[in-house]
C-alpha cells in the first residue's frame, strides 16, 4: 500500500499541470457551490429576518415592496408621500408603540438623505444606534446631520464637516442645494442599510431650498423663520413599532382593506420573503449552474485521467508483470482521482472565502448589508464531501480502463 501511494504521488507529480488544473476546477466548483448556498441563505436572512427594527411601514398607496425597499433598505424610489395627518393618526392609534416619520428626496453624493425625528435613533428594536466617539445627535431645529458609517468612510464626512445636499435620489452635481449642513456625529457601523444614510431633521427636509410641500393639496413653500402648518407637511413613510401581532393585523385591515389613502407593509419580513419566493427560480438557476460546474469539474477529472491512462498503459502492464493485482491498478487510479478531488475540495474553502468576501463587498456597497465570511452553512461540509466522492467516482472509468490493460501487449515486443 505504501509503495502504491508513492506511485500515485509520483504519478500526480509527473502530470503536475493536468493535476493542478483539474484540482483547480474542483476547487472552483466546490467554492462556487458553497458560495451560492451560503450567499443565498445569508442574503435571505439579512433581508427577511426582521433585523430592521420595525414591524411595519406606512406609506403612499401602492406597492408594499416598493415601500419596504425605499424605507427599510433605502433602495428604489419613494412610492409617493402621505399627509402629516396620517402620520399623527397612526402614531396615536392604540397598539402602535412608536411611529417615526421619514421624508426622502435628496442625496449627498449618491447616499440617501433621510429627514426624520430624533426618535429614529432609539425607536428601532434591537438596532442600538450608537454614535462614534466625539459625536452627538442632531438638533431637530438646526441644519445638522448624523451620517452612517459607510457614508463617512466613502465621503470623508466626520463630526464638524459641512456639506450641501443634492436634490433627487441620484447624485447630480448640478442639483446642489444651497443649504449647508454640519455633521454632528457619525454612527457606529450597524452592518445594515442605515450605514448608507445621511440623517437630517425632518424640518430641514421641508425647508430645503426648492422643496415644495403639498400636504394640504396646495403648494406651500416655507420661508425662513416661518412655522410650517402640520396640514402642509408630508412624509414619505412612517416606520412603525407595534405592541403585538394583533395590532398589525388590525392596522392591516384598517389601512389596506378598508382604507384607500395609504399602504401598510406588514410584516416587513413577509414582504421581503415574497420577493425572494418570486425569485426562487433564480436561486434554482444559480444552484443548477453551480451543480453543472461541479459535474464539469468531475468530467475534467475523468478526461484528465482517461487521457493519461492511454500514455500509461505500459506502466500498468509493468506493475501487473511485477505481480500487482488488477484491483491494485484499479485502486491506484481511484486514489489518483480521489487525491485530485480531495485537494480540490479542500482548496474550495479559500475559493469560497474569496467569493464570499467579494460578494460581501458588492452587497455592502449596494445595500449596506454585510455578509459574514465565517457564516456556518451545512453546504460547507457536504459540498467538499460530495466533491470528494464524485471526483473519486469520476476516476472509475479511467480506473476500469487501467484495470483492463492487457499486460503482454503492453510489455516488450514479441520475439
Amino acid at each position: 500500500m505504501k509503495m502504491l501511494l508513492l506511485y500515485v504521488r509520483r504519478s500526480l507529480r509527473q502530470h503536475a499541470l493536468s493535476t493542478i488544473v483539474t484540482a483547480a476546477s474542483v476547487a472552483l466548483a466546490s467554492g462556487l457551490l458553497m458560495g451560492v448556498f451560503a450567499i443565498k441563505d445569508q442574503a435571505r436572512a439579512a433581508f427577511t429576518a426582521g433585523h430592521t427594527g420595525y414591524d411595519a411601514v406606512l406609506g403612499a398607496r401602492g406597492s408594499q415592496l416598493q415601500l419596504v425597499l425605499n424605507s427599510i433598505f433605502h433602495l428604489d424610489t419613494s412610492p409617493g408621500n402621505i399627509p402629516w395627518k396620517l402620520y399623527t393618526e397612526i402614531r396615536d392609534t392604540p397598539g402602535v408603540t412608536a411611529a417615526v416619520p421619514y421624508a426622502v428626496g435628496d442625496n449627498y453624493r449618491g447616499f440617501r438623505i433621510v429627514g426624520t425625528t430624533p426618535e429614529a435613533f432609539n425607536a428601532p428594536v434591537g438596532r442600538g444606534f450608537k454614535l462614534a466617539a466625539g459625536g452627538k445627535w442632531f438638533n431637530p431645529d438646526e441644519k445638522e446631520a448624523v451620517v452612517g458609517s459607510y457614508v463617512a468612510q466613502k465621503t470623508g464626512l466626520a463630526a464638524g464637516s459641512r456639506f450641501n445636499p443634492y436634490h433627487g435620489l441620484a447624485y447630480n452635481p448640478a442639483m446642489r442645494h444651497p443649504d449647508e449642513y454640519i455633521v454632528t456625529g457619525v454612527l457606529e457601523p450597524t452592518n445594515t442599510p442605515c450605514d448608507r444614510v445621511v440623517w437630517i431633521p425632518i424640518d430641514g427636509m421641508y425647508r430645503m431650498a426648492g422643496h415644495v410641500l403639498r400636504g394640504a393639496g396646495t403648494e406651500f413653500i416655507p420661508q425662513p423663520g416661518q412655522s410650517i402648518p402640520d396640514e402642509d407637511k408630508e412624509v414619505s413613510a412612517v416606520m412603525l413599532r407595534l405592541a403585538s401581532p394583533e395590532a398589525g393585523f388590525m392596522l392591516n385591515q384598517m389601512v389596506n382593506r378598508q382604507g384607500n389613502a395609504a399602504t401598510l407593509a406588514w410584516p416587513i419580513g413577509k414582504v421581503m420573503e415574497e420577493v425572494f419566493d418570486k425569485f426562487g427560480w433564480l436561486d434554482r438557476v444559480l444552484a443548477l449552474i453551480a451543480v453543472m460546474t461541479a459535474l464539469v469539474s468531475c468530467a475534467c477529472i475523468l478526461a484528465a485521467l482517461y487521457n493519461t491512462i492511454s500514455e500509461r498503459r505500459r506502466e500498468f502492464a509493468i506493475l501487473r508483470a511485477l505481480g500487482a493485482r488488477k484491483r491494485a491498478v484499479l485502486g491506484a487510479v481511484l486514489m489518483e482521482s480521489s487525491a485530485i478531488a480531495g485537494v480540490g475540495a479542500v482548496c474550495g474553502y479559500p475559493v469560497y472565502a474569496a467569493l464570499l468576501f467579494a460578494a460581501s463587498l458588492v452587497i455592502k456597497a449596494q445595500t449596506g448589508v454585510e455578509l459574514n465570511i465565517f457564516y456556518w452553512h451545512p453546504a460547507l461540509l457536504w459540498t467538499p464531501a460530495a466533491m470528494f466522492f464524485l471526483g473519486g467516482l469520476a476516476g472509475l472509468v479511467p480506473a476500469l480502463k487501467a484495470y483492463a490493460t492487457p499486460v503482454a501487449e503492453n510489455l516488450a515486443p514479441l520475439s
Binding site: E315, L322, G323, R325, A408, L411, A412, S415
Partner: protein
C-alpha cells in the same frame, strides 16, 4: 527438485484472417532448481509468448505449467499474480522500469507485491551491482547498462525460485551483454534460482553451458487449425 515443468502446453492466437494459429506446442520441458538454460530462437518464434505463459501473464489454451509445486495453468488471474510476484523474477528486453520512481523505489515496488518491501535488502542489492551511489536516480538519469542492472536486481529482490530473462542483451553492446548475463547468472546462483534466458544474441548464448533451440521443444506448425 524441479523449478519448472511444462507439459502438453499449447497456446493459440487468432490471426487477422480469423483463423487460430498455434504458436506454442510443447510436449514437455523441465528445468531443475538452480539450473541455467539459454533458449535460442529467432525473432517472432514465440520466445516471449512462452515466457509470458510461464510467468502467468497470459494463460495457455491447454497443458500445465508447474512452477515449483504450483500449476500456473490451473490458477485464476489473481493467484497467478501472487505466484508471479513471489516466486518468479522476470527481466524484460526493454528494462520496463517505472519512470516516475527511483532505482531503489523500482526495486521496493516489486518487493511490495511479493514478500514485502525491505529498503535495506533493496539497497544492499543495488550496492552489490555497483549502483550504491545511484539508487536514488530515476531511470532516465541512468545509462542503459545501469537500467538493466536495476531491472535484474528488481527481478531477484524477492529471491524467486525461477528467473525468466527475455532478450535482456538486445539493446546492449557485447561487453555489456557479457557483463549482464554474468551478473544475472551470479545472482541466480547466489539465490539458488533456476534461470531460463531467451535470446537470439550469440554473445549471451555463449555464456551458457546448456542452450536449447525453441524449435527443438516447440512444434506449433503441426497443430495449426
Amino acid at each position: 527438485m524441479t523449478a519448472l515443468e511444462l507439459s502438453k502446453l499449447k497456446k493459440y492466437y487468432k490471426a487477422p484472417d480469423g483463423h487460430r494459429h498455434c504458436v506454442i506446442n510443447i510436449a514437455g520441458f523441465s528445468l531443475d532448481r538452480g539450473e541455467h538454460v539459454a533458449l535460442e530462437g529467432a525473432s517472432g518464434s514465440g520466445k516471449t509468448t512462452l515466457l509470458n505463459l510461464i510467468a502467468g501473464i497470459v494463460s495457455p489454451d491447454s497443458g500445465s505449467i508447474r512452477v515449483g509445486d504450483t500449476d500456473m495453468a490451473a490458477l485464476g488471474e489473481t493467484r497467478r499474480d501472487h505466484v508471479r510476484a513471489s516466486s518468479i523474477g522476470y527481466i524484460h528486453q526493454t528494462f520496463n522500469l517505472l519512470q516516475g520512481l527511483s532505482a531503489l523505489e523500482n526495486v521496493l515496488m516489486a518487493m511490495s507485491f511479493g514478500k514485502g518491501a525491505d529498503e535495506k535488502v533493496a539497497a544492499s542489492l543495488l550496492e552489490r551491482v555497483g549502483l550504491g551511489g545511484r539508487m536514488h536516480h530515476r531511470p532516465a538519469q541512468l545509462s542503459s547498462g545501469q537500467q538493466q542492472r536495476v531491472a535484474v536486481v528488481r527481478a531477484l529482490a524477492n529471491r524467486p525460485g525461477l528467473v525468466l530473462a527475455d532478450e535482456v542483451t538486445s539493446s546492449l553492446d557485447s561487453k555489456l551483454s557479457i557483463e549482464t548475463v554474468t551478473l544475472i547468472r551470479e545472482l541466480c546462483r547466489e539465490n539458488g534460482a533456476a534461470l531460463l534466458l531467451a535470446s537470439h544474441d550469440h554473445t549471451a548464448l555463449s555464456r551458457f553451458e546448456r542452450t536449447l533451440r525453441l524449435e527443438d521443444i516447440n512444434s506449433p506448425a503441426e497443430t495449426a487449425l
